[in-house]
């Protein structure tokens, strides 16, 4: 079985400060890892993914994430947060096989204060 843990329900940062949203995963074999963001009354928007290769992946809106195989983590980061980054962030995993389903974490609410 595959699963994702997002240990923080909420993250609060000041605008301009670095933002980190934590994610750890469990999957058989190599993982596909994803981050999605959800704004109020909107669907889940794809931010970035890790499939293979460089452990640091860059995505939309200045976000990046670092894959750490030994710690089974895929933390989302942004060097300088904006108020507009306030949203609900989901980490997701799927197995590196002919397997279709994404397994999501519970989500982390990010609030960036001006």
């Amino acid at each position: 079985a595959q699963s994702v843990a997002q240990p923080e329900d909420q993250v609060n940062v000041a605008e301009g400060n670095p933002l980190t949203v934590k994610c750890t995963y469990s999957v058989s074999g190599n993982p596909y890892l994803f981050w999605y963001v959800q704004y109020p009354n909107r669907g889940l928007q794809f931010l970035l993914k890790y499939i293979t290769g460089d452990n640091l992946v860059k995505g939309s809106y200045g976000f990046e994430a670092e894959f750490n195989k030994s710690q089974t983590s895929f933390h989302l980061k942004k060097p300088s947060a904006l108020v507009s980054d306030s949203a609900l962030y989901f980490c997701a995993v799927r197995a590196f096989s002919n397997d279709y389903k994404l397994s999501f974490g519970a989500g982390t609410t990010v609030t960036v204060r001006a």
Binding site: R42, L44, K49, A106, G107
Partner: protein, 113 residues
């Protein structure tokens, strides 16, 4: 930018009634999915669909659920006889290929009374 669309945005139905949730995936995508999120819980996978057949389904996707691609653009989820516990936000998603990222629609909030 192309996006997945879903209708209706909110559906209220009585227990035991049939509902059909509709989705229009991104036009060049070949793989289609349904997920749901019960209030306060995680987003859960229901089913994936490719080449006009179900490729994977979860234990949630029992005989009360069915999916169909009735034409070249729509993808539907039918719940035959709704239960109170079917109340949730239902998300449709599509992807270009099985190992590509999935793009999600805005969701349909289903309320069963």
């Amino acid at each position: 930018e192309p996006e997945v669309t879903q209708t209706p945005s909110h559906q209220v139905t009585q227990m035991g009634q049939e509902v059909i949730l509709r989705c229009v995936p991104i036009s060049n995508h070949l793989y289609f999915y349904w997920y749901r999120q019960i209030l306060g819980q995680k987003v859960e996978f229901l089913v994936s669909f490719y080449n006009n057949e179900i490729s994977e389904k979860s234990e949630i996707f029992d005989d009360q659920f069915s999916v169909e691609r009735p034409d070249g653009s729509n993808f539907t989820l039918k719940i035959r006889s709704t239960k109170l516990e079917d109340s949730a936000m239902y998300f449709c998603a599509s992807s270009e290929n099985w190992d590509y990222e999935q793009y999600f629609g805005p969701g349909t909030r289903l309320t069963v009374t």
